[in-house]
């Protein structure tokens, strides 16, 4: 056995009730290697990470750490062995400082000497080009900076294997570049990195080796820099699904939606408030809203859907003011919404697909004098299932029993069949399999061609560039100017996502 082999997994099996999340996975990570773990949502990446980090115990299989067989019973044990993990959702206390957050995860004798700890945080952050002041409160940090706190926390604990779960999904392109520089330097010094992602281009530019998972098994190993993104995508999704949509050019018509100087004050001290958001949307066009998570995307969606009432500004759809209407009234005027959370907002998990149709489509003649017309509800539901290729046993399946992609197709279909004038979709393909994502993109383009105006809120820049006529970015609740996609380079968009734009200019551009 090579002494440089840091981590080896043999035949890892982990079964959950009703699902074999890991089904005999082998993995080898060498010292100083950046190893990508690729796969669609639900392929078993997160479960495998939790096995390595000791969050769950595998049902079968063996794990070797620096050549010795080990059993990791808890994250604390994993940390003491030198395994550090940065989760997608950070585990930081917003009301504490950087140093306090880091001290919490250290053994008491190390945490006590705060001056020395500050010193160490500065040393580590300077050394790896991650500027960070240990005295700052986490609530004042950007998402990218919070991620640095997590990474520095691992490095201070002298981790020799760093696991990063989709670290770039919360970063601007510039922040991604700086993270990658840090990771390359770490690898050069011998630290192993396990990089979980589904963004193929990133993996190709950063990682030495990649292991691709599909449905709980290893579907292939490769050197990402030597194969094309299409080849890797094939390993991820299998042979029988289309990988991309062909999007025809749009022909925008007259102004459909006009939003002027929208203001909304968040009640949550750590929430995002909307500030002077203005945009105009024409029929037959898709406008993309980029931005790092938590910069007001959900707030904007709720302001448009009517789930929250704005404090100021106007929302006008075809000349009629919407800002005082509730969600059901707006729906009656042709507004359709696809929220970010499919289960527990877009659909009720334990209800059937037919009942979930009734959730937003009751205005389509499904209710008469307060009574539900069940035959019509079932018909509507079957129509959605048929037209949008939703894979399920029928309209009596519960929403929670569908895969993410299939449920999302159902929700998009439910909204699309109501012939909306305006569709606002948030992260419609997040966590969705490639085949469903293609179907969803096609549905959006078709709606656009039928004359609907579409707002597409997404963190997936590829998706935005592929589908949208114009793109802008939200940062801290303010909206950048909207630029035609063809004229907007990714550097510029990255700066907008980081908040480098002039609000006055944004208003001007939108007016």
């Amino acid at each position: 056995m090579s002494s440089a082999l840091r981590l080896k997994l043999e035949n890892i099996v982990k079964e959950y009730p009703g699902c074999r999340a890991n089904d005999g996975i082998d993995l080898r990570v060498e010292a100083g290697e950046i190893h990508a773990l690729l796969g669609e949502n639900g392929a078993g990446k997160s479960t495998l990470m939790k096995v390595i980090y000791g969050v769950v115990q595998p049902d079968e299989g063996r794990m070797f750490w620096n050549g010795h067989e080990v059993r990791v019973n808890s994250p604390a044990q994993a940390r003491s062995m030198g395994i550090g993990m940065v989760f997608q959702h950070f585990s930081l206390f917003e009301t504490l400082t950087v140093a306090e957050n880091i001290a919490l995860s250290l053994p008491p004798f190390e945490a006590r000497d705060r001056k020395k700890l500050d010193q160490r945080i500065r040393e580590v952050s300077d050394r790896y080009g991650m500027t960070l002041d240990p005295r700052r409160y986490v609530s004042t940090l950007s998402v990218g900076e919070r991620q640095r706190v997590e990474i520095i926390r691992c490095l201070i604990q002298e981790s020799t294997l760093l696991i990063l779960d989709e670290p770039t999904s919360v970063l601007t392109p510039q922040e991604v570049a700086s993270l990658f520089a840090t990771l390359r330097q770490l690898a050069k010094e011998g630290c192993s990195i396990l990089f979980i992602s589904h963004k193929l281009e990133e993996v190709r530019s950063l990682c030495h080796n990649a292991t691709v998972l599909r449905q709980g098994r290893v579907s292939g190993d490769c050197r990402p820099s030597e194969v094309s993104a299409t080849d890797i995508a094939r390993l991820m999704v299998g042979d029988d699904t289309p990988i991309s949509t062909r999007v025809t050019a749009a022909e925008p018509g007259e102004v459909m939606l006009s939003v002027q100087n929208l203001e909304w004050q968040s009640q949550d001290p750590f929430g995002t408030s909307l500030r002077q958001v203005s945009l105009e949307l024409r029929r037959g066009e898709i406008v993309g809203i980029a931005g790092v998570a938590g910069n007001g995307q959900d707030e904007l969606l709720k302001a448009l859907s009517g789930e929250t009432r704005v404090d100021g500004g106007s929302i006008t759809l075809e000349g009629k003011g919407l800002e005082k209407l509730g969600p059901d009234q707006r729906r009656g005027m042709g507004v359709a919404i696809v929220p970010e959370e499919r289960l527990g907002r877009g659909a009720v998990p334990k209800m059937t697909l037919a009942d979930n149709a009734l959730l937003t489509a009751s205005g389509q003649g499904l209710v008469q004098r307060g009574m539900i017309r069940f035959e019509r509800v079932r018909e509507f539901s079957r129509e959605v299932i048929r037209r949008f290729g939703v894979r399920c046993t029928g309209e009596t399946s519960t929403a929670g029993s569908l895969s993410g992609g299939n449920l999302q197709k159902y929700i998009i279909g439910r909204e699309a069949l109501q012939n909306p004038r305006l569709l606002v979709a948030s992260h419609p393909t997040w966590g969705v399999d490639v085949g469903s994502a293609v179907a969803i993109h096609e549905a959006l383009v078709k709606l656009r061609d039928e004359g609907a105006a579409i707002v597409l809120i997404s963190e997936d820049l590829d998706e935005l560039y592929q589908l949208c006529n114009r793109i802008g970015a939200l940062c801290a609740g303010r909206l950048s100017p909207l630029a035609p996609t063809r004229e907007l380079d990714i550097e510029q968009l990255g700066q907008w996502m980081a908040g480098e734009f002039d609000s006055a200019e944004a208003n001007h551009a939108a007016a």
Binding site: N11, G344, V348, M351, L359, T360, G370
Partner: protein
């Protein structure tokens, strides 16, 4: 080692088996309790469960006790489906009895077919008004309805006691705290001649049918279900939580208020302090035992009505304390909640983890 693990899919068998299992466990525990107290358990259980329903008179008495339970439970079902935990049926009930009595006492000498409807409507409105207090506190001040409704129950009880000891006390009642007997035209007609069973049971059954229609067919029932299962989805769909909260509370107040009115115009015929032996609280058990389903609450209200009558018989026949009714009701709810855990969870036997997992792994390697 025993392991309680989440079922991948909720068990629908267990959803309906759980009340039966709870009943069996209650009977077994009752058996043991009788033994421990030195009473004959078979005799005791027979007095409690069989004797009350062995003749027409007994069945009529059962229907009599069922009526208020079923009415209260029907209204509470509407609330609980929307996960509005209204514990205030007792208060609505008492206010309904009080409101109906005040009107009935005013009309004691009037002889008209309109007296009874007016009295019943007065009780219903009084129950709704009491429920409206809790609804307003919840929707406008965000007060927890469990706390406010419990507190309002005590206020209602004291209001009733004040009235029956004061303004409404029968001046010729030898100082007893009770109102005058209502006029004949304010009394509910009997359903079966010669028994005390009155029209109140028909109200209860109608309410159960209404609940069935509401949740099986109507859009507002669907909206209440969505609010209960997933309030974020309800907000997304635009089902106004405030409007539905008010609706559920008012329905709960109306049925419990009508139950109170039916009780004073039915078997009692006047306002007395002990107008309710806790119907409003027992109705909570009825709703859970009946799975928040119309048919279920009809069966469950019959069973709980039995505990009231059975308890009385045990007091007389076996010299048991009054607490025996509450004891059996409490046991039933306790076992029901326990058994309900197995709708979502199952028990799995887990072998000692370390050695066995290890050996399987090496065995396959």
């Amino acid at each position: 080692m025993l392991l309680l693990e989440r079922r991948p899919v909720d068990s629908s068998l267990m959803r309906w088996a759980s009340p039966l299992l709870a009943l069996v466990l209650t009977v077994i525990t009752g058996f043991i309790l009788f033994l421990a107290m030195g009473k004959d358990p078979v005799e005791g259980l027979r007095f409690f469960f069989i004797t009350p329903i062995s003749d027409l008179m007994g069945l009529a008495e059962l229907g009599l006790k069922m009526a208020p339970l079923l009415l209260c439970a029907a209204g509470l079902t509407v609330c609980y489906r929307a996960k509005i935990w209204n514990i205030g049926a007792e208060g609505h009930f008492l206010m309904g009895a009080l409101g109906a009595s005040i009107v009935a006492v005013q009309l004691v000498d009037v002889d008209s077919v309109w007296v009874l409807p007016v009295v019943l409507v007065a009780g219903t409105l009084a129950g709704m008004a009491w429920a409206a207090l809790a609804a307003g506190l919840k929707t406008h001040l965000n007060c927890n309805e469990i706390l406010t409704t419990i507190m309002l129950n005590y206020i209602a009880l004291n209001l009733l006691l004040y009235t029956v000891h004061g303004p409404l006390k029968d001046p010729y009642g030898f100082g007893f705290p009770q109102s005058v007997m209502f006029g004949d035209s304010a009394l509910l007609p009997d359903l079966i001649p010669g028994t005390r069973l009155h029209l109140g049971l028909a109200f209860g059954l109608l309410a159960a049918v209404a609940v069935w229609v509401m949740f099986a067919r109507s859009f507002i029932g669907f909206q209440l279900n969505v609010v209960g299962q997933d309030h974020r989805a309800a907000a997304f769909a635009g089902f106004g939580a405030r409007r539905l909260t008010w609706f559920a509370f008012l329905v709960g107040g109306a049925t419990a208020g009508l139950a109170g009115a039916s009780e004073v115009t039915g078997p009692i015929g006047q306002l007395v302090p002990q107008v309710s032996p806790g119907y409003g609280y027992t109705a909570i058990i009825v709703v859970f035992l009946g799975r928040m389903h119309a048919l279920g609450i009809v069966v469950a209200s019959a069973l709980l009505a039995l505990t009231f009558i059975g308890g009385e018989i045990l007091q007389i026949a076996m010299n048991m304390p009054k607490a025996v009714t509450g004891l059996f009701q409490g046991l039933l709810l306790f076992y029901l909640l326990t058994c309900d855990a197995f709708i979502h969870y199952r028990i799995r036997l887990k072998r000692p983890a370390h050695p066995s997992t290890h050996s399987t792994a090496t065995g396959e390697a």
